[in-house]
Subunit: 258 residues, 4 copies
């Protein structure tokens, strides 16, 4: 398998910008809101997280929501806002693509393309995104086994694109006191089995901002190559995932801990 | 929500052919191989299951496989074979679509379109398939909650297509002595909450043909509106899902039990 | 293993009374309240379920409750009430024992001893109860695998007591729309692997009386040798498990369906 | 609830010896074999872990094993060996008690009593062990929710014994590439909800010594008050849990990382 590492093979470095190389010694920090809501909102957040130490800006333009009546994102307009904001604050940008429509156009706005948990098994999307030859962040499905997660990455590598970063974001278990159980057992095993960088998403695992920082520290201590964190200027007014979004102050505190 | 039933609302009848109406009093029986492997294979199986009492022929042409190196199905050629075989044995046909490419063409071969478990959360696919105005069999995701399953159906109904049949096919749990735990609790709750017909797939839940028949009987006793069963002429040589495919003799025995 | 069946070995018959033989052709029906609350309550329920067709009376005297502040049962007084009521209505009685204290005394009141889910792994209790040489109903732990369940029974058989009836009562999964997912996959496999009778507890699986009847029908259709059902004269006032207890009318309806 | 913390309440300190105070600033390290196998084995391990920095010696004398035919531990003889070894190397000792028989005698050998995962719901044992007024290490059940775990501790505190240390040791999930998924979400929430110290058992979570160290680091980074680690002089010959036991060299390396 292309994803497997040989003995002593180092982690593959995936370079996004001079300041952001996944798999390098210092952890990559991606931060931003769950959803792009407006130019002003994104600029405010991007300016803050850049200043506080983030290396990349995240933000959702196409949101796969459980209910068809929930906010579905700003679509292409969101990507345009994001591109402009990224240039203004000098941060590379990442966003999720959920459809194969307009792939070349949509991906042209982005420095890295995210495949979300709900689409980890969408092999058609994986293959078509692979062909864009852009770096890809592949999130683990909520109920995907370690083996299935690696095989999803293999679908991309097999198409000739080896710029894949894996993301552990919590699995669905019987425990409902938090959103999804961050599976650091699998993170530790992934670091033994694959040469691809692996980052951790403590925000979606937590579902509650009170425990994002301890989970972030735990992920890095366990060997993660980086973090992706939801941060919002007004979490209580966020159109999605407000309860798990950090305030600027909390993000500042988190950065100082790691 | 469009999927919810009002008190005393009867199950919505979804008519595929004179002999197949989902939601009617007698259970709908769909049978066939996991994958369409050849014209001869499919004709052999279709002839047998028709004679033994099936109302619809199933068979996979596009297979979403965990590994990119596993057999991926015959693609459009499989659909053509299926259309011909369906006409020869006079059975309506159902197959899974996994990509939005060529949707009108591919769906034109079929009497009913299946959305598989791995794509239950692929909202882009759900919406585009909805617009074809064909009956849809929507399988529950392996780790989807009852609420998420109903919301996935709502994505289709919201687009104006109410010909949706739900399919419970087992959920991922800690128990690995079988493939996926058939969740009849949720079947029973679905029958209380939605007016859509709900069928059961005991083959994928079982992963082992020895327990397909008891699970099929259980599903119907619990109120299912039908069954979808994997049957193969030579299960030990099947290109996929052989261990859970019934022989003709076992399928005959199952039909006589229900 | 003593629990395993040889090819074609019939189910072991466990005789409690002339009207109740587990493993015989007709299903064994155990019914009664979650907790014994008073003599009048139990007599009312016992009279009703006897008339409606139950073969054995259930009722809890020692209740293992999640919170130490919840009603813990009437203790020995409850067993005395139960013995008297059982004699009055001519039904054998079963209750759970949760401690090794006073085992000979407490068991002397009972016709069958229940080991609850929380104690399936309490091997000390299993061994000591085994030595009483009374029939035992062993409930599956909420997160016990099929193999662990059989090994718990093996602890009892190894001590020389082979009068063991297994009970599938639902497993803990991510799905919280019902209490515990009734695992009929494992029931079907147990019927293939062990000669011990296996019954189903749809009440604890459901957690909601609306779906007890469909789950009970499903269990029997899947091959269960009997049912254990919670029934209460005033479910809305029950001291425990009210929401999943059937009314007399619902129990009557269930019996007529099976 | 007695287990809940008030705002700003510090973690309760539980003092075992001058060098071991759970809830104090530096993490408590418990180490030793899964099972006590002989005097020589235990002395060898105890000498090594003491020298490498452990504060307490662990070792099983009564082993709750899935199969009744597996090694069940040396029983009281094991406790006597442990007491002697503990005195020789000057380490306090902890072992699991699984029965209420001979409680005062057995506990008299020990400095701290362990309640294992399989007995977290054995409320009779919890109450009787509570009355011994010794420090207790309470391990979370494999499928216990956060709330159930706290309520099990409440059973002990309610009896007047507040010397309880909680231990997160992994939960049962669908993921079988490791033994049990270490649930650091719940650890982080426990640190917010209870004043009791909480430690982590990475050995049982891992089931594989290759990932014990990263999970141990993650647990401490997440806020754990200590670790309990399986260490063996000859892991490949251990009578139980060999694959997850660290060698002395691995334990040394782990200690130097934390």
């Amino acid at each position: 398998m292309l994803v497997h590492k040989t003995p002593n093979q180092p982690t593959t470095k995936i370079r996004i910008s001079p300041n952001l190389v996944f798999g390098d010694t210092s952890p990559a920090i991606i931060a931003g809101p769950c959803s792009i809501e407006s130019f002003d909102q994104l600029l405010s957040i991007a300016t803050a997280v850049k200043k506080l130490g983030a290396h990349m800006l995240r933000g959702g333009a196409f949101k796969p929501r459980t209910s068809p009546y929930a906010f579905q994102g700003l679509g292409e307009e969101g990507l345009k806002i994001m591109k402009k904001v990224g240039e203004m604050v000098d941060l590379p940008i990442i966003s999720e693509i959920i459809s194969t429509d307009n792939l070349p156009l949509y991906s042209s706005y982005l420095d890295m393309i995210q495949i979300g948990s709900r689409n980890m098994h969408n092999f058609d999307l994986l293959k078509k995104v692979a062909h864009l030859n852009k770096p890809i962040l592949l999130k683990r499905g909520m109920a995907a086994t370690l083996e299935e997660f690696l095989m999803a990455a293999e679908y991309i590598l097999k198409e000739g694109n080896s710029q894949v970063v894996l993301c552990e974001r919590g699995i669905r278990t019987f425990e409902t006191s938090s959103r999804n159980t961050l599976d650091l057992n699998t993170l530790a095993l992934l670091k033994l089995k694959t040469h691809l960088p692996v980052i951790v998403d403590p925000s979606h695992a937590a579902g509650n901002r009170e425990i994002v920082a301890p989970l972030a520290r735990a992920g890095l201590a366990c060997g993660a190559d980086g973090l992706i964190i939801e941060v919002h200027n007004q979490p209580e007014k966020a159109l999605s995932d407000g309860p798990q979004s950090l305030t600027f102050k909390q993000f500042d505190s988190l950065i100082s801990q790691i």
